[in-house]
């Protein structure tokens, strides 16, 4: 690797932080400057992060690793790196942040400086979670990132923003603190005086203890995902947050839960993970069906999208619970898809809200005539959200169901019900909003997508199709890491596996 890119991850972390500091030091009145600097910095971060993709080698190991002692007495180090599980999530973060800043260009009118500062800090925090390879570092990013999100919801949110912000904060904070205790217990029992994740993964933990530690971590991650029944913070936070907040929340923050399972809970506590996988699977499927059913009865567009996230993330968790290469690959892929399609849906709902200042489905109808381009984009994204073949959603859900079949056919059958329901609630919503006569006079003459809005949406639309057609471009980078994880779990729980046997379920035609 050429020297400038030896520290690419550190640069990715520092760039938004430096940008935030610069913006914070400028005068409060120069709002366009804040927006421009914010956009510029986030675009630069994205440009830098693309180097990760081009330099990435399709192997299972950690890449772009950096390690620096931080608190030597406790074996804590600044250790970062990416592998197939985290690569695309980092890219997703750097990709969505500039879009969010661009998307909020005119809808955020107050305290622009603070908004840009918090968005950039949030970006750094999210990247940090995905690249951290030290438990302490991971926890620092995991928690620190709550603060900017809390402010985003609480300052720029809608009517019940304070309630939603506090609920979001306390819910996630309560979930994570027990994880901290689990980390400390792990540190003490592992006996290697280190918080390094790869080192701890290599040091087996007593299976009896694993269950407790797994549960403590799983609670933190399950709240973040969110898995049923820990999802109740999500509709409030999503609905009350400003558009950019909802996009980041749905697009990236929720992925930290699934990622946490893959990076920490499962490899650190494989015995417990295998033992408790049925529980995770059942909760995931309940989430799929429950989220879809609740979406069906929503009268508020944003709430509908929010509850659909519960359903979509249920698929992700099913793929993770299956603990097969295909399932895990599908889960990671579906996390990206959800980030793209739900992110886009929140943008779209936000754009409609900017025009009408309402999100009630009953206020609309016949918008197809007034806003044809908007309708086209909305329909396309909706199709991706309900996993129509040819869109990204299809690949992800298909891989997950395929990977979960050997885990439990019954759960797969039940989860398929969620797909049907998804089609129902999404298409019904599309019908109510766009088809029929344009009866509401307030909807007459609504402007169609502007240039700025189109600029935000086009990359998302393009990606949802590209990821539907050219999925191997993405999955071949995910798969080796997913396979390594699955193999690690098998070796730990059932003893060493012959390489062939372990690799056998790892070659589904669909993933190729």
């Amino acid at each position: 690797m050429n020297p400038p890119f030896a520290h690419v991850l550190t640069l990715l972390l520092l760039l938004p932080i430096v940008g935030a500091v610069v913006v914070a030091l400028t005068r409060r009145e120069s709002e366009s400057l804040h927006k421009l600097v914010g956009l510029g910095v986030s675009l630069a971060t994205f440009a830098l992060s693309t180097r990760l993709v081009t330099l990435f080698r399709d192997t299972a190991g950690m890449q772009f690793e950096e390690r620096q002692a931080w608190i030597p007495a406790w074996g804590i180090s600044y250790h970062v790196g990416v592998d197939g599980l985290s690569l695309w999530l980092v890219i997703l973060t750097t990709f969505l942040t500039p879009l969010c800043l661009l998307g909020s260009w005119s809808s955020i009118e107050t305290r622009v400086r603070e908004f840009v500062v918090f968005m950039l800090l949030l970006e750094a925090g999210m990247i940090g979670v995905f690249v951290a390879l030290d438990l302490f570092l991971f926890y620092v990013f995991w928690e620190a990132m709550l603060i900017p999100m809390y402010f985003l919801i609480g300052i720029w949110g809608h009517d019940r923003r304070i309630y939603a912000a506090v609920k979001f904060f306390l819910y996630t904070f309560a979930g994570s603190v027990l994880m901290l205790v689990a980390f400390l217990v792990l540190y003490k029992t592992a006996g290697i005086r280190s918080f390094d994740i790869p080192a701890l993964v290599a040091a087996p933990v007593d299976p009896a203890l694993q269950t407790w530690l797994f549960l403590a971590c799983a609670l933190a991650f399950a709240i973040k995902v969110p898995m049923w029944p820990f999802h109740t913070w999500l509709p409030d936070a999503h609905v009350e947050a400003p558009t950019a907040g909802s996009v980041i929340l749905a697009g990236v923050l929720l992925k930290m839960g699934g990622y946490g399972f893959l990076r920490l809970a499962i490899p650190l506590f494989p015995d417990a993970a295998v033992r408790l996988a049925p529980l995770v699977g059942v909760l995931a499927v309940i989430g799929i069906v429950y989220g879809a059913l609740v979406s069906l009865v929503q009268t508020d567009l944003k709430k509908l999208v929010a509850y659909s996230s519960v359903s979509h993330l249920g698929f992700v968790m099913l793929g993770i619970a299956a603990l097969s290469t295909t399932g895990v690959t599908g889960a990671v892929y579906q996390m990206l898809n959800h980030g793209i399609s739900t992110g886009a849906l929140f943008f779209l709902v936000g754009m409609l809200y900017d025009r009408r200042h309402t999100r009630a489905i009953s206020e609309f109808g016949g918008l197809r005539a007034a806003m044809p381009w908007y309708f086209a984009v909305f329909l396309l994204i909706s199709l991706s959200s309900i996993a129509v073949p040819g869109t990204n959603g299809f690949v992800g859900e298909f891989l997950i169901l395929l990977g979960a079949w050997s885990f439990s056919p019954w759960l797969v059958v039940a989860a398929s019900l969620g797909i049907v329901l998804a089609a129902a609630y999404v298409l019904w919503m599309v019908k109510r909003v766009f088809y029929g006569e344009l009866t509401n006079p307030k909807n007459q003459g609504l402007p169609d997508l502007g240039l700025r809005e189109a600029t935000v949406l086009v990359p998302l639309v393009v990606l949802s199709i590209v990821m539907g057609i050219a999925s191997p471009l993405f999955t071949r980078r995910i798969e080796p890491a997913a396979d390594a994880l699955v193999r690690l779990v098998r070796e730990r729980t059932t003893g060493p596996q012959p390489a062939v046997a372990a690799a056998a379920p790892a070659q589904p035609g669909a993933a190729r």
Binding site: I71, F136, V140, I155, L180, V181
Partner: protein, 485 residues
Amino acid sequence: MNDVLDLRPAVPAAMVAVTGVVVLLAQAFTPKGARAPSFSLSLAGLAGALGSVWLLWSGSGYGAVLAGALAADGLALFLQGLVLAVAIVTVLLSPGYLRANGLERGEYYALMLFSVVGMMGLVASLELVSMFVALEIMSVALYGMAGLDRRRRESQESALKYFVTGAFASGFLLYGIALVYGVSGSTSLERVERAIGVAGAQAQPLAVLGAALLLVGFGFKIASVPFHMWAPDVYEGAPTTVTAFMAAGVKAAAFGALLRVFDYGLGGLAQHWQPLVAALAIVTMVIGNLAALAQRNLKRLLAYSSVAHAGYLMTALVAAPMVAGEAILFYLVAYAAVNLGSFGALAALSKDGAEPLTLADVAGLSERRPALAAALTVVLVSLAGIPVTAGFVGKFYLFGAAISAGRIGVVLAVVGVLASVVSAYYYLRVVVAMYMEDPVGEDRWSHATPAAAIALALSVGATLVFGLWPAPVLSMARLAARSLL
């Protein structure tokens, strides 16, 4: 140790004491109408003392004076440095606040300096009687400071309450010291430790009772439940800068003495007092945080939060002395920075009797005083124990230390982190008021004086720097904790 005439270990405390006398005299000899240079004198004296502590720390200054009663070992120097730093920041905070509240009197600085002398003696005492004397020097000065604003009833109440409960605590301490002396035949901690090691089972009940009484006495000073009743009233009634000084300084000094007495002198009885400490820690964390939930007055809220923090600190005491010492010493540094920041921000805010500050009083602060609101946010986040602040690293070590003690420690840590979640709610309520609510009425807030701004910048800076880069302070704390071996 043998060189009787080597008084170097006593130099820092002596410098502060002399400065205190000079401040008083300067006050007396200042012509009417002119202002006595109390502020600069105090600052110079404290800075000089801090410098000499540093020289002792980095040089070969370890040793003891007064026949082994006062030591200049790692623990003493670490905490003396901390107490001096706390005093310096408090002095910086003071002029603006005193002027705004009509309290500009020279004895304020003198009393603070004498109290610092007491704190420095408290953390340096290797002997129970001198420890008691130092504790009284510290406390008597503080009683006076708490009642400085004598026109305000709350301030009078604060002083009286502090005095009465303080006297009560002194009684327990003395009785405890007497019992320990009865068992060991000495008040020197070194001899106490040895005597308890060799004492048979028949001497044990007496020693345990003595330890329990000492624990009650210290419990008052560190404001642990159920000996915390005075804290909210005293913290609320005292002038805010005095509250800042008490919260940061007294806790550091009292915990330093507690560490030395229990983890060193009474270390042999650990299996007896540790369960007691664990139980106290749990009720302190739970009750402190639950009571803070109900507070509307910011000073009372912070007072209950200070009670809760005594509980967090106590969790580490179940660990081995070195581990506990390291974690507690680091946390005391973090806690001092955070408390000076939070009470200091309140002191910088208040204006011509506009105290007490309620939540409603800070509504919309971020619009009017963005820097101050940001500073207060950082320290509140640190109090809640959220990264990237010193409060998080501190709690991480405290609970880490507790967990190293086994099952009981895990229970303590779980209670501790859950209590932190509760605390996040009331800390965040302040942030909500500052950032998410609109300002009410006209702008009544005062501007921070340059000196107060420096003090706040120091506190907030320390909170962030020790949160991001704790290793240097941590290794110093580790070095200091060796004194407990």
